[in-house]
Symmetry: C2
Subunit: 419 residues, 2 copies
């Protein structure tokens, strides 16, 4: 079915203004009503979800994909709880900061405001429908949601609950709109609505994001890859380094903040690598290594020689590339050349080297003595996240409520004239 | 002459990293050396400028255009003083804010960093060469400058002084590069360097900016128009309103923060408009008005009826459109429909209406009881500006040093693992 996405975008633009002025209580009431509606409609949501699961099975999707798609009562309750958590976060809109007098007595400051209309394009997991809507509503932004076709029935059933929540609390119902079609041309239509949509946030695999970037006439907040590095410095606590490496690589392997490359200072390579490689291999991790690593590690531990492509690869799997470097500088150079600018960590007890790494590494999140797996809006204390940005403009790192706002200037005068 | 802009962009990218790490003293020394070099080379700068002035005269450019192009000893000294003022501003790079402990003891904060490589495309006034370079160097960004062909000789002579200043202080000389050609294809080449250039800032007329927006593969920070509004509320101090209207419109007419439309609440229209129109007309301002305004103002004061296009026109001249509105809401609706989102001001003594205007008007700068002419980086206390943004992302309003930076996340741990 053909949906008029342009008309949706125009309605979203009209809804954006009253939503931007809504007080925090109204927005919270809407989010709590949405949460209640999701729980009350558990049976119906599961019926709709069953249609998606049947289609997925018929299409032969992998068991992992089908699992991601599944909505059981527990997942529906968790989705509702996510809405309640966003309701509990402080409202960033209207916050005035830095209000300072000028020499002529006029005071100049900044007020935080919503961006306006946000387009969210995502894949597979239906809970994104509720999560993204919650963050947009709380930050005063109208949102247009476009989910993956494999979750079509689930997403529209969730979106119906969200709309009812808006209606019940008097917020404009067009503040949350779901593009109700599996027609692929709707995505292209949305990306051409630059007159009404302020920003596009794609969430999903690299192919989806690359497509959105190529076709969008609207600014895009995104990250493509997560090629994250753990660097074990010559002054590292090697027990800590071992734990951080194992956690960074193996705590969860299919996500963007997983360590994909381990860099080890040559001064500690002989002391660190044999044990580290043994434990990684024992945990089921495939190792792709530089010749110096191979030479240091007992032959019975299986490893293959890394190819040049390995240093630029996001495995999203239990695979780790390992390289011995001669110096902190070489580690930073390697990261500069190969990182996707997502997250890097140094393991060191040396103060100056920790500060240099923090300052010189140009990534969205730069860490000292912490697992790359912490690079996440919840873990950073943002409460929730819309995704992670590796862009240089607007927002870098996890995107929470603040990333969905912008500061305008405000001036409080009492008749000042320009000389 | 064909210039290899891609090679320049690659050199800028390489220079960006050492520049991003340079301490404040080094950057300030470079800016002060540049200032001294400009003053020392006053004679040579004037000789080069004379070539541009001759060409401009031969081409028949207007006296106003030729005046903007002229570099005399006073303007060269002022340009040098501008560099010294930027040196005196605090360095935003490396600033750490909001460093807060998480429940697991890990501290999460943000560190301000340069964007990387900035491309600046500008017209006519040669002092932009020095101003833009100063702001970029101080904020740790490499810059590629592309000036208008009419200032070609002046710009390259200024750029040579800037390069010498970098050399003299040991900063990478590729941190400031001037595209040394009048070949127009160089602009298109620069706009395709998205692999190495992080942001483009166009400064100049609407045509230039529209062209850059249409062709750029790189994010652009800009404003197109300045259709600014002064709204005289029913609770305005009418003497103040008169002074603010005259200042907003007539203090300088050819710039983007000039008031182009006056909105007057119907309750004070009869008391305010006759005197205001009389004084505006006496000051040489053409008036294009709604029928209600015409009916209120004595027939001897010349005014024409506004056409629908007037409400969407940036006059950049001594012309003002005037409309009587029934309410604050109608004023805000008019602004929502016709503003270019640059700057609007309300004149009122009413607390609640002032706050509503501040909150509800979606423009880069929103004022109470102050002249729209204050919307400017210097006047706002930023010290200097690269331009003004009416965008919704990254920066809104005058763009100073902070607008040329972005915050990355930093994490200080002591071995925390993700559970």
């Amino acid at each position: 079915m053909k949906v008029d996405v342009m008309a949706m975008a125009q309605r979203a633009r009209r809804a954006a203004r009253p939503l931007s002025m809504a007080d925090e209580d109204s927005k919270n009431r809407a989010l709590l009503a949405m949460a209640d509606l999701l729980v009350q409609n558990t049976t119906q949501l599961q019926q709709e979800n069953a249609l998606d699961l049947q289609a997925a099975t018929a299409k032969g999707l992998s068991p992992a994909m089908i699992d991601r798609l599944r909505l059981d009562a527990g997942r529906i309750a968790a989705m509702a709880e996510g809405l309640r958590q966003v309701a509990a976060l402080p409202d960033p809109v209207g916050e005035i900061t830095n209000l300072k007098p000028r020499p002529n007595g006029m005071r100049v400051g900044r007020m935080r405001m919503p961006l306006g209309v946000v387009g969210v394009i995502y894949e597979s997991r239906p809970n994104v429908t509720a999560d993204a809507a919650a963050l947009c509503v709380k930050s005063g932004n109208a949102v247009i949601l476009r989910g993956g076709s494999e979750a079509y029935h689930s997403n529209r059933a969730i979106a119906a609950c969200l709309s009812q929540g808006l209606l019940a609390t008097g917020l404009p119902v067009d503040a949350v709109q779901y593009i109700d079609t599996t027609d692929r041309s709707a995505v292209g239509d949305l990306l051409r609505c630059d007159k009404w949509v302020d920003v596009i946030i794609p969430r999903g695999g690299k192919d989806l994001i690359a497509c959105v970037m190529a076709d969008s006439h609207i600014p895009v907040i995104k990250h493509l890859d997560g090629i994250c590095h753990t660097y074990v410095d010559r002054y590292a606590d090697l027990e800590m380094a071992l734990a951080l490496t194992l956690n960074g690589k193996m705590q969860r392997t299919g996500v963007c903040n997983t360590t994909e490359t381990l860099l080890v200072h040559q001064a500690v390579a002989a002391a660190f690598l044999p044990k580290a490689c043994q434990q990684l291999a024992a945990a089921g991790c495939e190792l792709r290594v530089c010749p110096r690593t191979r030479a240091l590690v007992p032959a019975e531990i299986p490893m293959v020689e890394a190819t040049p492509e390995d240093w630029d690869t996001e495995y999203l799997a239990a695979i780790l590339s390992i390289r011995v470097v001669d110096s902190l500088e070489e580690a930073i150079d390697h990261i500069e050349a190969h990182s996707s600018r997502h997250t890097e960590t140094i393991v060191t007890q040396d103060y100056a080297r920790a500060l240099r790494f923090l300052r010189e590494v140009d990534s969205a999140s730069v860490m000292v003595n912490a697992s790359t797996r912490f690079s996440d809006g919840f873990e950073f204390g943002l409460g929730a996240e819309m995704g992670i940005s590796t862009d240089k403009l607007h927002v870098r790192g996890p995107v929470g409520l603040e990333g969905l706002t912008i500061q305008k200037y405000i001036v409080l005068g009492d008749g000042q004239l320009r000389q």
